[in-house]
Symmetry: C2
Subunit: 384 residues, 2 copies
């Protein structure tokens, strides 16, 4: 096991009727900025629950934070925070709104000339506006981690940052808020959570039997509950299990002391930046290609995945590892998720600028630092 | 899944050479009281590592905290904390020293006339002296929770309390500190961790597939690593896996949203209080008896345990659940742990005052609130 540090101070409040708890979780004296996305919270009753709980408080609103939250939008919210002296950010929505809130929280206290430096790594935040979350979409794990991904229109970039000062003070997870989610977002959430686990698992072993089993626990549960999540609209149990399982896919527990990859995410972010695909759509395309390309380096863990999650018993390590790739693709298809660039009519010629961007940045990816621009080009060819 | 709240702010620093990190984790201005047990830390080099890291700091010492830490001893440390204006408690040792430190931390800020009220529940701490831990014995999980168990000589009682204000600020887990542990303490730690999981698992299902698998991950790993833990003296990997697995047995993750029991612990505490058995020794005796006595209420989860952990495939639910009890007893025996009161020459007549104490307290135990003094008497008979 590798040395590690684990510190996750998020207070998770989970279950039916828990939105009302914000009344005690936010200090009555604080000036609150409510952040949300496209307005679905005003249709599904969540907004009303929030405002009822905050009755009499100083609350202002900032809506319109996009999926793949845009830097330009976030900076407008930063202006509001600074102008009005906002003390607390309350994110109500999915991982995109929450990622936006994390960036806004850090940018509002940022001393660099351009808060974009937080995302390029040129500026490290030391403090942020305190934030809390009401999660309505199980997928990203953002509710129990300190990471955020932000896109910038003017440059077509999509970059991530992580900093302990943007851990939510609390995250409220009420599974009933997911009842009105469209099928596409449920599908995306299942795939996103699945791939999060794999980025922390499908590398090479450093003798971490507990963490391996904890990771397998997450993906086995995702696979098991997926049909009910997609088919049963108002089923509390499957939504509750989905919500808590997606949180565990990226709350730091399964990455303690293990070797991580994140190649799929880094390539996927660019596919979103260039072609506008949903985040999860890019992951379902790239993950199987990364596994094929890095097969010899990953096959031991992939074979273990096949044996433990899909009970594959026949064949040698190579055959079992190939089975893991096939079973993963089948799982993605079973939830209605395409796994090819061709499914989105993206052809080879359009990939050149994607590879060029990685080449210009001098990107080096993967647990062996073996995936550079040339390898990314090969991986993308496997995605066609 | 039941509603739940999860908030665990402990900073875990895990791995080789991490003791030196206390230099940055404790503010240089703070007056430190170093708490330890019987002095093994002065023989195995841990004390020297601690003092080297704290060179130049204001450090005083309080040694002699017992296994099953005594109220009387802890109150002497409380006097030192108050007299010298100690700002920070540093616990160096196993779960007993740390449990003592937690009680000392709360008692030193306690406004009740008698800090024992913290343990009887008549006083709820609002604040405590900040504390950190260097763990040298994987077993209790105290390093990543806010619970403590304290014994009182004058009354022969052993009581537990839990309060968020006694979460360690940090816990340092360096597996190399366990190399000098005697076999008995390793055995005790394996059993203690195993039973912790079972108190949170072997009840009845409220549809928590992730938590079930996370719990199974812990016990499967314990069973898998036990031979190496006991036989390989300086094997880093097995000790590292033991340390992290024991932490996960009682850090609150596997209890999120599930139904818990704790009957075995409550009865076991009294067996320690009356007969001086080690904590883990009592658990290994009581757990199988509780399962036999509450068989019909627990058999579904026990059968799942048998299928998933020991791959039992034959028989109906009753047969599989009985297999889980047999396999558990075999596991205890395999690590050298007795499972009968008779192994300690404790006969039926000596159990009467134990039952009487439960009767006087009006104790009600178990996930169905179905275990009272009469049932405890029956369970104890099954332990003979």
């Amino acid at each position: 096991m590798n040395n590690f540090e684990y510190h996750n101070p998020v207070r998770v409040v989970f279950g039916k009727g828990t939105i009302a708890r914000i009344a005690e979780l936010i200090d009555p004296s604080e000036k609150i900025l409510l952040l949300y996305g496209g307005g679905s919270i005003k249709k599904n009753g969540v907004y009303n629950q929030v405002m009822a709980a905050l009755k009499g408080r100083d609350v202002r609103e900032f809506g319109g934070i996009e999926p793949n939250p845009r830097y330009e939008t976030c900076m407008k919210a930063v202006e509001v925070v600074k102008r009005d002296g906002v003390d607390f950010l309350l994110s109500v929505g999915g991982g995109s709104v929450l990622d936006g809130a994390k960036f806004i929280a850090a940018a509002a206290r940022c001393k660099a000339d351009d808060p974009w430096d937080i995302l390029t790594g040129q500026y490290t935040p030391k403090t942020a506006v305190p934030l809390g979350a009401i999660l309505t979409l199980p997928a990203t794990g953002s509710e129990m981690n300190c990471f955020a991904v932000i896109s910038r229109d003017s440059t077509g970039e999509k970059l991530a940052f992580g900093n302990p000062c943007v851990y939510p003070v609390f995250s409220i997870l009420d599974p009933e808020t997911t009842y009105t989610l469209p099928a596409k977002q449920l599908r995306n959430g299942l795939v996103d959570a699945f791939v999060h686990v794999m980025e922390q698992y499908a590398t090479y072993s450093v003798n971490t039997p507990l963490q391996d089993r904890q990771a397998e626990a997450v993906v086995r549960t995702l696979i098991e509950i997926a049909p009910d999540v997609l088919e049963k609209k108002n089923d509390y149990d499957s939504r509750a299990n989905f919500m808590w399982t997606a949180t565990h896919a990226l709350n730091g527990i399964i990455s303690c002391g293990v070797v991580e990859d994140w190649t799929t995410h880094m390539i996927g972010h660019e596919l979103t930046a260039f072609f506008g695909l949903d985040h999860a759509e890019t992951l379902a395309i790239v993950l199987p290609a990364v596994w094929q390309h890095q097969f010899d380096r990953k096959k031991e863990k992939l074979a273990q995945l096949a044996r433990r999650v899909w009970h594959v018993v026949e064949g040698d390590v190579n055959a079992q590892a190939r089975a893991a790739i096939d079973k993963t693709v089948s799982f993605f298809h079973s939830v209605g998720m395409p796994t090819r660039l061709g499914d989105y009519h993206i052809t080879e010629s359009r990939l050149t600028p994607v590879v060029e961007r990685f080449r210009q940045r001098g990107t080096v990816l993967g647990e062996h630092q073996a995936v550079k621009a040339d390898q990314i080009a090969e991986i993308l060819s496997l995605c066609l």
